[in-house]
Symmetry: C2
Subunit: 488 residues, 2 copies
Amino acid sequence: MTDRPPERRAPWPEPPDLLPDEGGGTLLKTRSDDDRDPSSQDAHLQVDFVQQVVEAVRREDAAEAADLVDGLALPDLADLFEVLPPSDRRQLAALAGDNLDPAVLPELDGQVFTDVVRQVPATLVAEAVRQLDSDDAIAVIEELDEDVQNQVLRRLAAADRVVIEEGLAYPEESAGRIMQRDLVAVPQFWTVGQTIDYLRAENPSLPDDFYEIIVTDPFHRPVGAIALSRVMRNERRVKIGDIMTRDPHLIDVMADQEDVAYQFNKYHLISAAVIDQSRRLVGVITVDDIVHVVEQEAQEDILALAGVSEGGVNESIVTMTRSRFTWLLVNLGTAVLASAVIGRFEATIQQLVALAVLMPIVASMGGNAGTQTMTVAVRALATKELSAANALRIVNKELLVGLINGALLAGVIGGVAWAWFGDPLLAGVLAAAMVINLAVAGLSGILVPMTLSRLGIDPAVSSTVFVTTITDVIGFLAFLGLAALVLL
Amino acid sequence: MTDRPPERRAPWPEPPDLLPDEGGGTLLKTRSDDDRDPSSQDAHLQVDFVQQVVEAVRREDAAEAADLVDGLALPDLADLFEVLPPSDRRQLAALAGDNLDPAVLPELDGQVFTDVVRQVPATLVAEAVRQLDSDDAIAVIEELDEDVQNQVLRRLAAADRVVIEEGLAYPEESAGRIMQRDLVAVPQFWTVGQTIDYLRAENPSLPDDFYEIIVTDPFHRPVGAIALSRVMRNERRVKIGDIMTRDPHLIDVMADQEDVAYQFNKYHLISAAVIDQSRRLVGVITVDDIVHVVEQEAQEDILALAGVSEGGVNESIVTMTRSRFTWLLVNLGTAVLASAVIGRFEATIQQLVALAVLMPIVASMGGNAGTQTMTVAVRALATKELSAANALRIVNKELLVGLINGALLAGVIGGVAWAWFGDPLLAGVLAAAMVINLAVAGLSGILVPMTLSRLGIDPAVSSTVFVTTITDVIGFLAFLGLAALVLL
């Protein structure tokens, strides 16, 4: 099955002078040489390299700085901007000025993008937007402050501006925002030969790189798609309609990017046509953009579960503080609620201080078990492994798992508490509370995200606070309540 | 910039009879019809459809079951197997037997795969392995129990078996496991015309679909790559060496799949050549497989942070219980440690029971703040946003954010406690403990994952337990210790 290169008679000489590739390919241009170790391609972003750049920047030595960053691939240049302290980052951008490769802008995010873009002339940003594919151009424009946005739009030719403005009219994180407007579409009665000739003609509206050709009907509605490799492997006289894949997978232009990523992942798509409400072709989404979406959506889920509203270590102190404060304030409320439950048992604790020593165990174990189940549930909802079709079965399973682990851990902690305080009844109460709270943790861990999802609320964002409140309150209530009943 | 279809003079008639595409394309074949709503492509997995399948399966009505699942796209058939209860899942696989499309096997994971594969004959599995691309074939084989694996391997032709065995020799989750052995490589002195003719020749070793051609030197080492679209858009007489991208991004065959995904995402790769230690071309990885890796690695991180070792709602009760028990047991240990800290202050609590009521607040807020910072840090390490080059700056930021939020929340909770217990000194102690614990949470939230990562330990797996232990212990110690000093 392994492919070998075609038969060769003798080694051939290296051509004397290879032309570099033209246009923004998908492959990396590095300043690498032949003995480059493929496993350490980030080597140039080592601490001492960054330090050299910082020193050059602080000496305002533009020539030295340019010399250092020259030959960095764009994604590496973007990484360099990210690791620099904000003042040096702004200074490097200012030193680069007009010489900055505008294609670096779509590689930057959040605060780093803002820092850099404020230092470079609007003409450079306009140039970036003009050069970039429409999806990248929109990604740059949407990050700009409104006044800069208007300045840049005014500098564009009318045709380019219309494309950008149409793109911005779609909701954020929709298919319309991430799709590419430049695409290749042909009618199904064309032959392979006609298609190749069309592609060979100098045609500025063709994208730099593409992987599938969309086949449309007279109303510009997609009726098929065909991988480039399949076009290439057929004779010139073969009709496109005879070799295309019918019923291509189509994406609604208003679909959420998370749903688009789900479809790409599930159906192993390389590219997919995007259609509007009248089923007309308006764009195409390719899988390289989807990798970024998958990463970003998973990142959002991870951070949301931990209660961080905006991620990134490069945000400003104010943004970072604010992005975490709200969640902490909400949790302070639930912590006070749990304290109020304890407050009801002040007299009980007064009589038996050992209760105060042991009570955090039950609440904390419930919180951990609830978080486990909840995290599995949130992911299963995101990947649609958990749906109405199997909900009841999964809920039962989680309850059972909670009961089994509760019983096992109750045995352990009961033994520890008995040995520690020498009181079998106290140990029994602790063990019983543990079983109750772990069963509650299993149930709330699955039911809370399912309910939120049913109500149209993102379960990743709000499940944690409900689940931990429930396990805290039930944890203290079960332990102290049983203790008040049994021990006093 | 928008592409319009080529000029047409008049609408053309629909061709009377379109041939279906041949070979496993990347596009979906559904049983859809023309008025399909693109936003509801999962509609056939609605509860009532699943219920119909379950009923047919329980009646052992193979014909009815086949009729129902007929026309489901493979990924949808895989989803159906996933949502079915285990007994019905096995029964459906048994009813299908030889008629099951073997290409569904690589779509199944974990317990679901095992359930299905045990019901189908080894000949079918061997057939699947024979038909599939090498990466999918290896993905199927590696999931089999050893005796079934040997049975299947024995049924393969020697050439196929060697490819599989070579693939299995690479470490799990390495580039060698996910790469595709079938690829297209040509020498750089070839012309576009020669390349197209080579592709058109019936050649069983060519992959079904491919997006880039790799250009190799006489020693079969990659020296360039070229997107298919670029080959197509050049004249037949143009030399490949003149239009290829030099210095293509190369992947080490032993690289971890997480690192491969990172490179695809960072450098926006569509496909990349995989090389062995002597820099020879051994395979190619395409981005559609990377989407799955990104999803899977993010999933692993999310679940690991919550302390779940194996995910999925479809695992057996035993696997689910076990995958969560270890973590809970470790946390029980840390909870007992925290209790031991409280135990040191039994006398203090005896004198002032309000301490028992308020003490969980400080520990719980520290846990939440620590988890926030830790989650951001774990992600920043995974995406290499956080590295030695900016570590010190980020640690300082996290400490500052912890202090600011600590001060804000100390104000809130101090006020609440004062109003509740009417004791300004008690409120002051609580507020001071809050500031201390949130600063400690910020510091440990960033330092623990950084240290683990430096030690070569996956920070996603083990950070949580260290961070929450620290915030629990410091939380109780700071509050009760200050109280003992100041209040009594």
